[in-house]
Subunit: 462 residues, 2 copies
């Protein structure tokens, strides 16, 4: 297999699907609609959108047929970079955001704005593979295009919290900041056009700490006086109101509006919990001026979610970016969005051991038999159970071991798949009509009629 | 966008998801487990598996970085075919069957056989794009590896029928044949090693009719005497038992076993219906000796499903292929499988107009408001409804128009998305607590309390 790619076997898929279904359910509940775009995009769409490094990380697909037919010796001599446009015009998408921008611009006359879309598809990056970094991985995005209402920001926080709680994660932290606050702070020291660099440096806080950050800020011209103010603001020791007081004097108009937006969203969220006095909410929402997020295209409120007690890093993040479609000639379209990191969520749920039983068990019933007679009897049980409406409504799976094999082999099949229950049919069972239902986890066996088995199983599981 | 690729907007995705969810539900019910493999495979895995034409239709991905670094002028002069292995070692998968074979061989020590897997992922082919043929499309496969039990064949027919019926398709036909019957017929005229060519010619019956087929058979050496026997067998005028009588004398041992297998599967299916006298079953299962299926790797019973009254061609097909993993060094592994054509099913359901309402409607509730006061009131309604367990269990989606816009704009948003119900909140509604629930399809309006709305909506939809 190509390095940086993975196979997902059935056990892993069950757990991944639990995560994906949970996220999808929440996206849909909040009114987001699914789209899919092709894996292959024209390189003219992809190139130049992710910086020079990004261009190099794009997987490029050779033109079909004789890809050399328009290539001269001279082209060849010029080297691999200038040869590229002659032999390739398509690439694998690098993220879901640029394809979204292309989709919105191409379909702007059919779309009813605000356009709330979610998209769950793989992306490819020719990155150096390493632990937790893959060359092909799933992205899971939701965005709202065409409105600057703060309802979007509020609902993103709600969705983040709802997904965490539906996944069974009790301890998590949502950090929130506003890009214009950071930009304003950068400018407060008299430095112009350093806003992005400022954000990039602040973004390293987790890795290099305040000491490293302050050194880099000094190097690009910030004064020790400003740094001592920043230090307190980034310390994490101040509460919301104190932060407001300390920040306000250094903010320009945009920064002040950003700060107001943060507080508006906090107020709306408080109301939505139905308990205005509840401190900092159940989900530990936090205003964190040191949250920067690397990407340069954010322009407004930004978010990040971390799970307590695990070392996987942030599992969700996003923010407002108000000129995405500008790159394709449709300027001034307000947008905000966020995404979940499936691989990190998976690792976190494993580490916390909170995957629910049904995501681990996988399948439900295996009918086990001993000889031709019990096989044939089992077939009829199989057919009746598969037609049963109660079991069908619950999505119960029922299969029979297809070969006449030893009991141990059939039970091993149930254990390894894994399948939760076996129905064992021997000659005794055939005579009495009472079948043996075995719970493969607890080891419990019961002697039950078909109807009793149906009742038991249709109450047992959701 | 690259030619032969497509965007899927929300309306199309809703309908595609209805089809995919239906198929997934049936696969899982019968005990199949999902796997996923990477889109990118090493070219050493893909090349040589689909014939020379297939090799050319593979999308090949340029090596990252300086892909010319080991290329000499001489390599370049030799032309595009011999340059290929120097500049590319990965490609996009062409189908899900070769990746499955690789997966099984790589994981043979972890897999508990029989291995029942399903896989729903895109594949890529650099085919000439034309109506109904795409360069990127979804395949939807289920296979059972490691058993030659006829239970597999029987359950494949059941699954095909169950998917059709769950999709709301009443009129369909499942045709069944056995490759060894065809092979035996080919040999019955004294011709050896022509079995595959015979199957390829018979496969053209739909396109060129018996006249065309018989001409081609004569050309490769079949006698007019054999052809007149074949004609009757392929005519479609004989019932199962007559076919058995006419075929038996021309079959060798393998062919005769194949014919017995067909009849065994028919018998099992009859029993499974619980009505042994029912003629040819509800799903019009048919033994059709002219069914050949193009692919050369089939070795046993083969199937194909067509929908009556539409012109989309076969929507599902498959068969037994007993040496798939041999190409990767694991010989003698019995296997059988089948797949659904999502694009053709989609076209068929459109043509028959049988997509259910919920696949067309998409989303459920939009809260509509007039000014800041009703917006704020609406927010609280939104939050209460989203927390309601009855609505959550039903997967009801609830959203509010995020901007304070004109009523017509908000209603247009509901109509175009489409959203089935609007809850309209004006000053009247705020005062009385009775909200206006409007059904956007029928146009009916009711004045209801929040609790009444919850009751109404939780009974309305599944």
């Amino acid at each position: 297999m190509p390095k940086g790619t993975r196979d997902f076997g059935p056990d892993v898929m069950n757990k991944r699907n639990f995560i994906l279904n949970t996220i999808t359910k929440v996206f849909r509940k909040y009114g987001f609609r699914q789209i899919e775009t092709p894996s292959l995009e024209n390189l003219s769409v992809l190139m130049g959108k992710y910086g020079e490094e990004g261009d190099q990380l794009l997987f490029k697909v050779l033109n079909s047929g004789d890809y050399l037919k328009d290539v001269t010796d001279e082209d060849f001599e010029k080297g691999y970079k200038s040869l590229l446009p002659k032999i390739t015009n398509k690439g694998l998408r690098y993220d879901l955001t640029v394809p979204l921008a292309r989709f919105v611009v191409m379909n702007r006359n059919e779309i009813s704005f605000p356009f709330k879309r979610y998209q769950i598809q793989p992306v490819w990056r020719a990155d150096k593979p390493q632990r937790g970094r893959y060359r092909e991985f799933l992205q899971c995005d939701a965005d709202i295009i065409g409105t600057s209402s703060l309802l979007c920001e509020m609902e993103i926080v709600q969705m983040m919290a709802e997904v965490m709680s539906e996944l069974g994660i009790a301890g998590f932290k949502i950090r929130m900041n506003h890009r214009k606050i950071l930009g304003s702070m950068a400018k407060s020291d008299g430095l112009q056009n350093q806003e992005n660099l400022f954000a990039v440096i602040i973004d390293k806080m987790d890795k290099i700490g305040w000491d490293g950050v302050s050194k880099e800020l000094l190097k690009i011209g910030f004064t020790p006086d400003s740094l001592s103010k920043f230090k307190q603001i980034f310390s994490g020791e101040l509460d919301k109101e104190d932060l407001r007081k300390k920040l306000s004097p250094m903010l320009d108009r945009d920064g002040a509006n950003g700060l107001d937006d943060i507080f508006t969203v906090f107020e709306m969220l408080k109301k939505s919990r139905g308990n205005p006095d509840e401190q900092d909410f159940k989900w530990h929402l936090q205003f964190d001026p040191s949250l920067a997020r690397g990407l340069s295209y954010y322009t407004g409120i930004i978010f990040e979610v971390e799970i307590e007690g695990v070392t996987v890093g942030s599992v969700s993040g996003g923010g407002r970016y108000d000129d995405l479609t500008g790159i394709f000639g449709l300027p001034d379209v307000a947008a905000t969005g966020f995404s979940f990191g499936i691989d990190r969520l998976y690792d976190a749920l494993e580490e916390l051991k909170v995957f629910p039983d049904f995501a681990i068990e996988g399948h439900n019933i295996l009918i086990v038999h001993f000889d031709e007679e019990t096989f044939n009897y089992g077939l009829e049980v199989l057919w009746r159970l598969r037609k049963n409406q109660k079991l069908n409504t619950r999505g119960v799976s029922i299969e029979m071991y297809p070969d006449q094999s030893r009991l141990t082999k059939q039970m091993a099949y149930a254990n390894r798949n894994p399948i939760r229950f076996t129905i064992i049919i021997g000659s005794e069972e055939m005579k009495s009509g009472k079948l043996t239902l075995k719970d493969m986890i607890t080891g419990d066996q019961q002697s039950l009629s078909e109807d009793e088995i149906i009742d038991y199983l249709s109450q047992k599981r959701v």
